[in-house]
Amino acid sequence: MLIVFERKKQRELAGFGRRVLGAAAALVVATLLAGEDAGGPRVAMGAEPRAAAQLAAHPLRGSGGEDAPLSGACLGDPEVVRLGPTQSAPGARGSMVLTQPGSPFEITVDRDGFQTFHVEIRVEQLPRRRGAKYLVWVAKPELDEYKRIGALPGENRIAGRVAWNQFIVFVSEETSEDVERWQGPIVLTGISPSGRLHTMAGHGPFEDVSCQQYY
């Protein structure tokens, strides 16, 4: 059972997760509405080129076991999500690369139909506070389920597997790696690409309050 403090924190983070989802959609809608369409509809992903550049600057090394892409292998057009810093670490940067894990089938879903992803999280410029440990987590937007990916090693990249329709990814700063649930401040956050699945009516540009402040 969660203590009251944890419940409050959970509610806050769940609200944050929903705001992040909304912000992502708002950002994309705003980009769509602002840009000129010369060659048919294109989904302009503002964050993606920067993340792709990060990816290019850090060639994959297959750190995620046999599911991970081979070194130097063609990744095609991998799904890359930028992780955004919070006020706890304004200079931090990060990205999450999603690929399909190995499977005898060409599509990897579990028996309930949840798409399974191999995720690789890379971070840079974390605040190097004395004794700080950085842990990577994924959680459903409602935070009713979460999973620890692991503690970031010195090379600041870590991989895992996720099989949820939508999820948020975040990095928490802890005093110990031995925590089953995040306790310290959150320094980086991001959402799965499916976070863009979003009813557009009543969000982003159609609201008085812009969600972009959260992104």
């Binding site: 690929t99 005898p104 060409e106 979003h198 609201e207």
Partner: protein
């Protein structure tokens, strides 16, 4: 202007301060925004619809017994005010909706595809049409002759009767069992009301008998015949189907399996019995079969998803077994576009083989994913007495409300009796075999795995005269696209897309040539690495099951992840946004087609032809 006013009213209803008044209607994205705000009006002024949505989509894994139910089939589709009147003539009507949602985008009310609706000979009295019977097994040997006739049949599916097509009056078509290395003659006669041909899917036969009108033969006109000579080179599970307007003909029942038996008795492990399951779906509403397009295919955006799932043409497959039985399941997806995610709840499953061969190694799996035209051979063990449900379990998407929802359909029930099976194969089942014959054969090609890419294809789409409201709405509707579309998330827009207003494209990256302009030339004995990119940024990214005729290939990697357990294939499904490397063994001379096996994508252009010259 009227549509813009609707959008403004929608915003007022919602009490917001929208950007809509400053939008210029001529801008596609602004139209999209207005359309979507208009949708909010529909939701706002339709409390019943709005109220119905959350519980419907939030229900946790509802189990729906897969049966034709007029109530289920017609839920949310009372659109008589928007459709042409029903009569003896075939008329367009609004497509059935999988979940409660606004009926149509504002501005598209009453719109219909710009082609003539088609159903098989609607003037015929169903009572005068022969009733289809369940398929028979045809055991044939080398040199045998088989008669195959495509004709009208009367099908009873659940409580309803439909006029459909069938091979030899059967559903599915006859199961042809033939030894490896045999060659048979098939005397085919076309007695349906459309030109047709028979394609022997996956069979590496002589080119002129591949059954592709416009490439290997002329279509067989109604009343005419064609003689095929079919050589079965490889052991495995295959199927036959039309390759001319297969969006109509295959969907209406023209398909059947072929099992090519290897000479080695222990080619597969021991099993107590076998079942051949052909997985399909059919789109029906209260008036019957939903029409097809006569001059051009409709539903070309996502393919035609049915709302009635079928196994061997029936809503519910039933089997009765004994305790401890190991059953071999031969699975074939014959649906136009639906990808299945199958599980047999409570049974242990062992994956043995794929399209054209066994896997290098058997593996235990929890579920089986089959895209259109793919086949898998799976052993299932039923250790305990009881009922086992064969289910299709997916996470569907409701684009209108921006959420996923679970959808589980029961396709079959296996009843296991308490009586133990006479011959217990459990020990063999629990042993994962390595197939040395497959490994050795693939070993000959392993040195080629690292070769540079010889050819590269991009998969994408181009919009023609698709209604601008759809184009605009799609720009926002596909902000997120899943790797796989498991269900029809946008039935109204899908229904209005045709092979005239939307083109699906295979593009040769080196030359920029597209579809039938592509002219790859190989020589028998070549081995080529082909990279296929399913572009993430296109009008509507979607998975494509790519089928290569007359040859076989290995899927070397998916998004850079190497395949750890190979099998020879003829069809590989490439999720949206993914890149596959395949190794093509060029083994069969002739002019062959490669194409997307979503029937409507094929009709919308997604095919190419390559030539293989005989080795001198």
């Amino acid at each position: 202007m009227a549509r813009l006013r609707v959008a403004e009213e929608a915003a007022q209803v919602r009490g917001r301060n929208p950007l809509v008044p400053i939008l210029v209607w001529s801008q596609p994205r602004c139209r999209a925004a207005a359309v979507l705000v208009g949708l909010s009006l529909v939701m706002a002024v339709s409390p019943a619809v709005a109220a119905a949505v959350p519980p419907a989509v939030a229900a946790a894994s509802p189990i729906v017994v897969n049966d034709v139910s007029p109530v289920a089939a017609t839920a949310g589709q009372q659109h008589s005010g928007h459709a042409m009147p029903d009569s003896a003539e075939v008329a367009w009507r609004m497509p059935p909706q999988p979940i409660p949602m606004p009926m149509m985008l504002p501005g598209l009310m009453g719109a219909t595809p710009g082609v003539t609706p088609f159903l098989p000979d609607p003037g015929m009295d169903p009572a005068m049409i022969r009733e289809a019977v369940f398929r028979e097994v045809k055991e044939v040997e080398d040199g045998d002759t088989l008669r195959l006739e495509a004709g009208f049949v009367r099908r009873q599916i659940g409580a309803r009767t439909f006029t459909m097509y069938g091979f030899n009056g059967q559903y599915p078509g006859p199961l042809i069992r033939v030894p490896q290395g045999a060659e048979i003659i098939v005397l085919f006669t076309n007695n349906i009301d459309l030109p047709t041909a028979v394609h022997w899917h996956g069979v590496r036969l002589e080119n002129q008998f591949d059954g592709v009108p416009g490439v290997t033969q002329d279509p067989v006109e109604p009343g005419e015949s064609f003689i095929y000579r079919v050589y079965f080179r490889d052991a495995g599970l295959y199927w036959y189907h039309p390759h001319h307007r297969e969006d109509i003909q295959q969907d209406l029942g023209l398909y059947g399996n072929m099992l090519v038996s290897a000479s080695a008795a222990d080619y597969y492990g021991p099993a107590n019995g076998e079942d051949f399951l052909m997985l399909d779906d059919l789109l029906v509403d209260e008036a019957g079969l939903f029409p097809y397009g006569r001059e051009a295919a409709v539903h070309t955006l996502m393919g035609r998803f049915g709302n009635q799932l079928l196994v061997n043409g029936e809503p519910l497959w039933r089997e009765t077994l004994r305790r401890g039985e190991v059953r071999r399941l031969y699975l074939t997806n014959v649906a136009n576009t639906r990808t299945f995610n199958l599980a047999l709840e409570g049974a242990e499953l062992k994956l043995v083989g794929a399209d054209v061969s066994k896997f290098e190694r058997e593996t235990f799996v929890s579920n089986i994913v089959l895209a259109p035209a793919q086949r898998y051979i799976v052993d299932a063990r039923f250790a305990e007495p009881g009922s086992y449900a064969l289910v299709n379990a997916i996470q569907a998407i409701d684009h209108f409300n921006g959420r996923f929802y679970p959808q589980t359909d029961t396709l079959g029930i296996v009843t296991v009796l308490d009586d133990p099976v006479a011959e217990d194969h459990s020990a063999a089942f629990l042993t994962l075999r390595e197939h040395a014959d497959v490994v050795e054969e693939i070993d000959r090609y392993r040195a080629e795995f690292a070769r540079p890419v010889d050819h590269e294809l991009e998969l994408t789409a181009r919009v023609g005269a698709l209604p601008s409201d759809i184009v605009a709405a799609m720009a926002l509707d596909t902000l997120y696209f899943p790797p796989v579309e498991w269900a029809d998330a946008m039935p109204m827009m899908n229904y209005l897309s045709t092979s005239r207003n939307l083109t699906w494209i295979m593009r040769d990256v080196a030359t920029g040539k597209e579809n039938r302009e592509i002219d790859w030339r190989f020589t028998e004995g070549d081995v080529r690495k082909i990279r296929i990119r399913n572009l993430r940024r296109s009008f509507h990214p979607m998975q494509h099951p790519i089928h290569i005729h007359g040859q076989r290939f290995l899927v070397l990697s998916r998004d850079g992840v190497p395949s750890g357990n190979l099998a020879w294939k003829d069809t590989a499904v490439i999720p949206a946004g993914s890149t596959f490397d395949i190794l093509l063994e060029v083994s069969n001379p002739g002019r062959w087609m490669a194409h997307c096996h979503i029937a409507e994508h094929l009709e919308a252009g997604m095919s190419m032809v390559f030539s293989v010259d005989p080795r001198s």
